[in-house]
């Protein structure tokens, strides 16, 4: 017997711990700030400065290395719970001596896509906030676009692809290429699915961290849904909501029955 649930648990909890650590760092470590945070602070206080001067000061306050580090930290916090299934898949289908290497290659591919994506999104954020400092308009427009995308069949196509755990080769260079390629491909579909949502918190003048947390919950919950034919529909929290409601019902039922269900088997 191969108990897959137990194998998944061996991945799930360490990954969630890493995510929690990253969230903690984002919340309490001002040095490890969220990308754009300085943008907001600066933009809100210097709304009348010339654009070129603003941009220059902005880049001085937010060097690309710091922006990249902040973006990477945000990725770890938000995205690592999304790839529990993928990391389990790689771990379980790789030779034990290659597991760490294959997971590292997957993370490199997946993270590489998101870092490239981050460059574009951060650039977009900087441009928007430079042109409209302290304004909610960029965030509002982005939020609306993200909502339309969220309901579109294209979004579903991306989500379906995010459930496609391909078979990986086991030996040699092919195994490395497959692990990296799996990460890269998954990153592309993942970015296709949630880039708009990721941009939204970056453009908010305030409430940035809370918005990030909300987006993280949304993208995690929507990934719980089964694949389905692409079509226009609102998607997001449905399955998670049903799960929570079911857990509450079950808890009540178990309390009423004195946990008899668990003892009568």
């Amino acid at each position: 017997m191969i108990d897959i649930a137990r194998e998944v648990a061996r991945v799930r909890y360490p990954v969630l711990a890493i995510s929690a650590f990253a969230w903690g760092a984002l919340a309490v470590g001002p040095g490890m700030h969220v990308p754009g945070m300085h943008v907001y602070c600066w933009a809100m206080g210097s709304g009348t400065a010339p654009v070129a001067a603003s941009l220059s000061m902005l880049l001085a306050l937010n060097p690309p290395s710091a922006l990249a580090a902040g973006w990477a930290l945000m990725l770890v916090a938000m995205m690592s719970p999304l790839v529990i299934s993928e990391i389990h898949h790689i771990r379980f289908t790789s030779l034990a001596r290659r597991r760490a290497r294959s997971i590292a290659l997957f993370v490199t591919g997946y993270g590489g896509v998101w870092m490239l994506c981050g460059a574009v999104l951060t650039g977009t954020g900087i441009a928007a906030l430079t042109l409209a400092p302290g304004s909610y308009i960029p965030a509002t427009v982005t939020g609306l676009i993200a909502c339309v995308w969220q309901a579109s069949p294209f979004k579903q196509r991306c989500l379906n692809k995010c459930h496609d755990n391909r078979c990986l080769r086991v030996f040699g260079l092919e195994a490395d290429l497959d692990a990296f390629g799996f990460g890269w491909t998954r990153g592309v579909w993942c970015a296709g699915s949630c880039s708009g949502l990721m941009l939204f918190p970056m453009l908010l003048p305030e409430g940035h961290l809370m918005a990030m947390a909300a987006v993280a919950i949304l993208v995690y919950c929507e990934r719980l849904e089964d694949p389905e034919p692409p079509r226009w529909k609102m998607r997001g929290l449905g399955k998670a909501g049903r799960m929570i409601a079911a857990r509450i019902r079950i808890s009540r039922r178990m309390v009423r029955r004195g946990f008899a269900l668990l003892t009568e088997q």
Partner: protein, 539 residues
């Protein structure tokens, strides 16, 4: 005190409409249900759609004369649970609801209120010895004349068409001869020993497996989409029986497929429910007679609602019965039982199997002197031994492919087999077939190290098991619930590996795995296996 119903063997009293009153009244009840519209929850068609429906219904050769389907799907349609640990409880509830409806119709026509759904025990070998054949009632063109029927049968029944007769039921050879290739069935319908094809024998081996989760009952259906593993009971006998019963007209997969071979049509064939009564009986025996336990996990007890999925729901007594696995685990509380609840003779208790294995590996004396055999767990570390480098395409009679092994892991297994004892249980070895996709199902048998060009009939000792690809097409759809991942199967190949070890044949860099089909797979619709992997389980 509610009545306890007893489900009887369909082969009792000759298995005919004339001799077996359970079958006679089943046919009468099914006939009444077939007269209703597809939108009526009391209709035969509605119950068929609860298991699964699709556009295929429009092209089914009569009988049965399938009416047009409403669109979109109605409440409760397309619920069937496959490749999941919910397979046994969902089908138990489904049977209870169908049986309740048939009984209601039987009673309304003057039939017995004690009627219960019979089961088809295709493994049965006593009275008569050839129960691998479909009960004769399912082959009769029409009801017998009134003189040959008991009193109380409605006057319009004698001589009328038999609702149990289904045209698209082609059997394992596609010739309309309906039998199940159990070992007895194969003996009675022998294959050419030089054939490249192979009947994957339908067995009760799953009954020796004492573990439900990821084993006898199926893989845990988690909310993270990590697996869709088919359990032992579901794969063999369930899936194999479906595939063989349905078959293809003329044994040609380009022709019409029998209803039982496709989950979206299977519920239309009246024999479906007798097959599932037998599967349900096996689960009941596994619990009651063999004293094995169902999962004690709330995710199983409370069903897929814990994962945000809809309730199990069935039309019953004019309303909707919503149930969870915890509601149907105990048949005594559901007020029914089976005439035969004896364990199959082939069942080997786990401790006994472990002892026999030690003996095979020449380690038994040490175990015996240590005061009996109790430790049968090899440890819970699961590790990949090797795999194919890429996918495997299966067409024609099948294919043979190398599975490369990692030398280090292979040595671990060999060392564990060499040092096997009660205190140091030897590794177990499993073969996984992942991402099995295709458009047409069937049965594939798996052989380890069968020589190139070898004939399966001559290498039965190298057979690792068989897989039934019931539902393959649906599992392969990219936008389906499986996300296009297809089906996954795990076969315990420990016995074969032990034999290779004893014959000094395990010291290899590769094993060859042959996938042998029961019928020709057209090149235009091949089956693809994403990867064949071999795992060890041990310390």
């Amino acid at each position: 005190m509610p009545t306890t119903f007893t489900r009887n063997n369909a082969w009792d009293s000759g298995g005919t409409l004339e001799g077996n009153s359970d079958l006679l009244w089943y046919a009468i009840g099914v006939g009444k249900m077939m007269q209703r519209s597809a939108a009526d929850p009391k209709s035969w068609w509605y119950f068929g759609a609860i298991h699964g429906d699709g556009p295929e219904w429009g092209g089914i050769t009569a009988p049965p004369q399938v009416p047009p389907l409403p669109s979109p799907d109605l409440q409760g349609w397309n619920q069937c649970q496959h490749a999941t640990w919910y397979f046994p409880p969902w089908h138990r509830g489904y049977l209870i609801a169908l049986e309740n409806q048939v009984r209601e119709d039987i009673v309304s026509l003057g039939g017995p209120s004690t009627w219960d759904l019979p089961y088809w025990d295709y493994f049965g070998q006593q009275n008569p010895p050839d129960q691998f054949n479909i009960p004769l009632a399912f082959l009769e063109q029409s009801f017998p004349p009134a003189t040959n029927l008991p009193p109380g049968v409605p006057p319009n029944i004698p001589g009328s068409p038999n609702p149990l007769l289904v045209a698209p039921r082609y059997g394992p050879n596609g010739d309309g001869v309906i039998f199940i290739p159990t070992q007895a069935g194969i003996n009675a319908h022998p294959q050419d020993p030089n054939s490249d094809f192979d009947f994957g024998v339908v067995t009760e081996e799953c009954m020796s497996d004492p573990v439900y989760t990821s084993s006898f009952g199926g893989g845990q259906t988690g909310f993270e989409h990590f697996d869709s593993a088919t359990g032992g009971l579901e794969n063999n006998p369930h899936n194999l029986v479906h595939s063989y019963l349905g078959g293809f007209q003329g044994n040609d997969q380009n022709n019409e497929q029998g209803l039982m071979g496709d989950p979206l049509m299977a519920g239309l064939d009246p024999v479906f429910y007798l097959h599932h009564a037998n599967i349900d009986r096996l689960w009941a025996i596994w619990n009651v007679t063999l004293k094995n336990s169902n999962p004690n996990d709330i995710n199983w007890l409370f069903g897929p609602t814990t994962n945000g999925q809809p309730d199990f729901q069935m039309p019953k007594d004019g309303s909707w019965w919503r149930f969870t696995p915890s509601d149907v685990t105990d048949i005594s509380k559901l007020n029914y039982t089976y005439k035969d609840m004896s364990a199959p003779a082939s069942v080997v208790p786990a401790a006994q199997a472990f002892s026999a294995r030690l003996a095979t590996l020449h380690a038994a004396p040490a175990a015996a002197t240590n005061g009996g055999v109790t430790n049968v767990q090899p440890g819970n570390k699961v590790e990949l031994m090797g795999a194919t480098q890429g996918s495997v395409v299966v067409k024609g009679a099948g294919t043979r492919t190398p599975v490369r092994l990692d030398a280090g892991v292979r040595r671990k297994v060999a060392a564990s087999l060499l040092g096997a004892s009660q205190a140091a249980p030897p590794d177990r070895v499993f073969l996984r077939l992942d991402n099995v996709v295709g458009t047409i199902g069937g049965v594939l048998s798996v052989y380890i190290n069968m020589p190139e060009g070898g004939k399966p009939a001559q290498y039965q000792h190298l057979r690792a098991g068989s897989i039934g690809l019931f539902g393959l097409r649906q599992a392969s759809e990219p936008a389906g619930k499986h996300g296009g991942k297809g089906m996954s199967f795990t076969l315990d190949i420990t016995k074969v590996i032990d034999q290779l070890h004893l014959s000094q044949s395990l010291d290899l860099d590769t094993l060859s795995v042959s996938l042998v089909s029961s019928r020709a797979i057209p090149g235009s619709a091949p089956i693809t296996v994403g990867r064949i992997s071999i795992y060890r389980q041990g310390h």
